[in-house]
Amino acid sequence: MKEVLKVEKLTKSFTLSKKQQKLENSDTRVKKAVSELSFSAYEGEIFGLLGPNGAGKTTTLRMLATLIKPDSGDAFIDGISVVKEPEKVRGKMGFLTSELKMEEFFTPNYLYDFFSDMHRIPNDIREKRKAQLFAKFGIDKFAEVRTANLSTGMKQKTSIVMSVVHDPDIIIFDEPTNGLDVITAKVVTDYLLELKAQGKTVILSTHIFSLVEKICDRVGIIIDGEMIMCGSIGELTKDKSLEDLFFDLYSQRKGENV
C-alpha cells in the first residue's frame, strides 16, 4: 500500500504563561506537547489517534495541517514536507476540527464557492462535486440558509463538506462526532468509511473507543506527547479490548490505577 502520510520525529514545545503554569501545576515554563512522534498512514486506510486530554493529539494534527510548525522533525504528505512546502500540503489535505468555524453570516452555498475559489477548483468540477456532497449530507435543504441559523448537526455537516471541497488525498478529523446526535454521527461515520472506500487516507482523533474499533484499520496511542503503541486493531486487541489496552498503558505510563 502507498504510504500517504509519513510522520518523522515530530516535536513541539510551548512556552506557558504564568497563568497556564498555575493551571497545569507545572514548575517549568516550557511544556513539551509532542516528543519525537513518528508514524505512517497508508492509502485507503483510517488511522485512529487515541489519547487522553492534553496528550498531544490536537497539537500533532495541527502540525500536520500546517497551522503550527514543529520545533523539529517533519511530516510528509505524498512526499511533500509540511515544514518546507506548507502551501502545497494544504492543497492535498483536508482538516476538520471544532476549533475551525464557518463564518455565520454566509450560507453553505456561498461558503462552498468561497473555499472552492480559495482552492482554485475549476467551475465545472466544483458544481458537480457540490451537487454530490450537498445531496449526500442533505445540505440542499438548507444551502441558502445562513450558517448562524443552522443546528449543530447542520453546521458540522457543512464544516465537513467545506473541508473536502478540493477532494484531498488525506483528511484529518479531530473529534468529528463530538456533540452530534446519533443520526448525524452515523452520517459522519458512514462518510469516513466512504472516504476510505474511495482510497483516501483518514486520520481520526477521537475519545470513542467503539468508533475506533469499528472503523479504524490502525491506531496509535499517544500519552504525554509520545507514541506509546501503534499497530493494526487486530494486532493490538488480540487478548483484550482496545479500551482495556488503553487503560493498562495509561496506568503503566502514569504509575496510577484508573
Binding site: 497551522l67 503550527i68 502545497k88 492543497g91 468555524k101 473555499f115
Partner: protein, 399 residues
C-alpha cells in the same frame, strides 16, 4: 480560477454589502449623523446670532446721557430711564433674570465730557450691571460695551480706521481665498478623524473578529499564500473605510454652509463653496485620502491581528486615534502648508500638510507625490508585517 487576494476581497465585500445593518451603520449613518448634527448646530448658532441681533434688551438707565442716548436707543436696547433710588429694585430684577442691564451714568456725565481736558483723572466712569448667568443679560452686556466704546470714540475722535463700513472694500481676499483658509484650518483634522473612525469601524471586526470566532484558521488552511490573504483583506477594508469616509466627508461638506453661516441666504457668515477648486485639486484630494485610508487600514489591521479579541483590538487602536487627532489639530494653527520636504516624509503629518495645501489652493504636486509614496511604502511594509503575523502561530493561535 481567481487570485487569492481577489477571492478574499470579494468575500469581505460580500459580507459588508450583504449585511444591511453593517452597511447602514458604517456608510450611511456617519454621513447622515454629521449632516444632521452640524445642521442643527449651525441652525442653533444662527438662531443665537439672530436673536442677539434682533432682540431688544430690557435696559434700565440712571442719568441717561444725551450724548449716548440716541446710539443706545437705536442699537437694540429697550431703554427705561429711572431715578437713582430705583437702582436697587432693578438689581433685584437683574438677579431674578427679569431685566438685562442697568447702566448708571454719573450725574454730570455730559458736562464732564464737554469739558474733558484729556487727563485720565477727569475720565467719568459708567457702571454697567448685568447677570452673567443670564445669557440674554450677558449678550446685552457685550453689546452695550461695544456701543459705549463707539460713543467714546465719537466723542474723542482723532482719526478713523476704514470708515466705509457699508461696503467691504478694504479686505482684498476673495471669497475663494477666505473659504480656502477656513477649509484648510478645519477640514484636514475633520477628514483625518472621520477616515480613521471609518477604518476603526471595519478593520478590527474583520481581522480580530475572525480570529476570535475561529473563522480565520479555515482560510489559513487553504493554499492561498498568507500575503494574498493580507492584501485581499487590506484592499477590501480600505474600500469599506473609503465608503464610510466619503459618506462622512459628504455630510461634513454639505453641512459646512449651515455650520459656518453661508451668505448665500442673506446671513452674516461667509460664502462656503467647494466649486472654486480645480480638477487637479480634487485629484490630489482623492489620492491623498485614498493613500491615507490604506495607511490607516494597514496600521489598524496589524494591531487587530496582534489582538486576541475585537475588544482588545479596539483598545489597541484607540491610542493611534489620539496621534491622528494630534497630527490633525496641527492644521488648526496654520492655514498654510509647510514648504520643507521632510514634513511630507512623516506618515499622517504628511497627509495633514498635503490637505492644507490642497484646501488653501497652494498644493505642491511634489509634496503630494512624496506623501502618497510614503503612505504606500509604509502600507507595503505594514502588509509585509501583516503577512508575517498571519504566518506566526503565536499571534494567530495565541490563547
Amino acid at each position: 480560477m481567481k487570485n487569492g487576494a481577489f477571492v478574499i476581497f470579494r468575500k469581505e465585500m460580500a459580507r459588508f454589502l450583504g449585511d444591511k445593518r453593517l452597511f447602514f451603520t458604517t456608510v450611511i449613518l456617519p454621513g447622515l449623523m454629521i449632516f444632521v448634527m452640524y445642521n442643527i448646530m449651525g441652525t442653533s448658532l444662527s438662531d443665537m446670532v439672530k436673536d442677539a441681533t434682533d432682540k431688544e434688551y430690557d435696559t434700565y438707565v440712571v442719568n441717561m446721557s444725551s450724548v449716548a442716548a440716541e446710539t443706545i436707543e437705536t442699537s437694540g436696547f429697550s431703554v427705561h430711564e429711572i431715578a437713582v433710588g430705583e437702582s436697587d429694585s432693578v438689581t433685584e430684577k437683574l438677579k431674578s433674570k427679569e431685566a438685562d442691564l442697568l447702566v448708571v451714568f454719573p450725574e454730570d456725565f455730559d458736562s464732564v465730557l464737554a469739558n474733558y481736558s484729556g487727563k485720565s483723572e477727569d475720565v467719568p466712569a459708567v457702571e454697567v450691571y448685568y447677570n452673567s448667568a443670564n445669557m440674554s443679560s450677558s449678550a446685552a452686556y457685550s453689546k452695550i460695551t461695544l456701543v459705549l466704546d463707539r460713543v467714546e470714540q465719537s466723542v474723542s475722535n482723532v482719526f478713523d480706521i476704514n470708515p466705509d463700513t457699508e461696503n467691504n472694500v478694504y479686505d482684498l481676499a476673495t471669497d475663494e481665498d477666505t473659504t480656502g483658509t477656513m477649509f484648510a484650518s478645519i477640514l484636514p483634522v475633520l477628514l483625518l478623524i472621520l477616515i480613521y473612525s471609518s477604518c476603526m469601524a471595519v478593520a478590527p471586526e474583520s481581522i480580530a473578529g475572525e480570529k476570535e470566532r475561529g473563522t480565520f484558521a479555515a482560510m489559513l488552511l487553504t493554499p492561498v499564500p498568507r500575503g494574498q490573504i493580507a492584501l485581499g483583506k487590506v484592499l477590501a477594508l480600505s474600500l469599506m473605510a473609503l465608503m464610510g469616509g466619503i459618506s462622512s466627508c459628504v455630510g461634513t461638506i454639505l453641512s459646512m454652509p449651515a455650520l459656518m453661516g453661508d451668505t448665500s441666504e442673506g446671513s452674516s457668515g461667509m460664502s462656503m463653496s467647494l466649486t472654486g477648486y480645480s480638477a487637479a485639486d480634487y485629484a490630489g484630494l482623492i489620492i491623498i485620502i485614498l493613500s491615507t485610508v490604506i495607511l490607516f487600514i494597514t496600521i489598524i489591521s496589524v494591531l487587530s491581528a496582534y489582538a486576541k479579541t475585537v475588544k482588545e483590538a479596539a483598545t489597541l487602536v484607540l491610542p493611534v486615534m489620539l496621534i491622528v487627532m494630534f497630527a490633525g489639530f496641527s492644521s488648526m494653527y496654520s492655514s498654510e502648508a509647510k514648504a520643507e520636504i521632510y514634513w511630507y516624509l512623516i506618515p499622517v503629518l504628511n497627509s495633514v500638510q498635503s490637505l492644507i495645501g490642497i484646501f488653501s489652493r497652494s498644493a505642491d504636486m511634489l509634496h503630494i507625490a512624496v506623501t502618497v509614496c510614503m503612505n504606500i511604502i509604509v502600507s507595503a511594509l505594514g502588509m509585509l508585517l501583516l503577512r508575517h503575523m498571519f504566518n506566526s502561530e503565536k499571534i494567530m493561535f495565541a490563547r
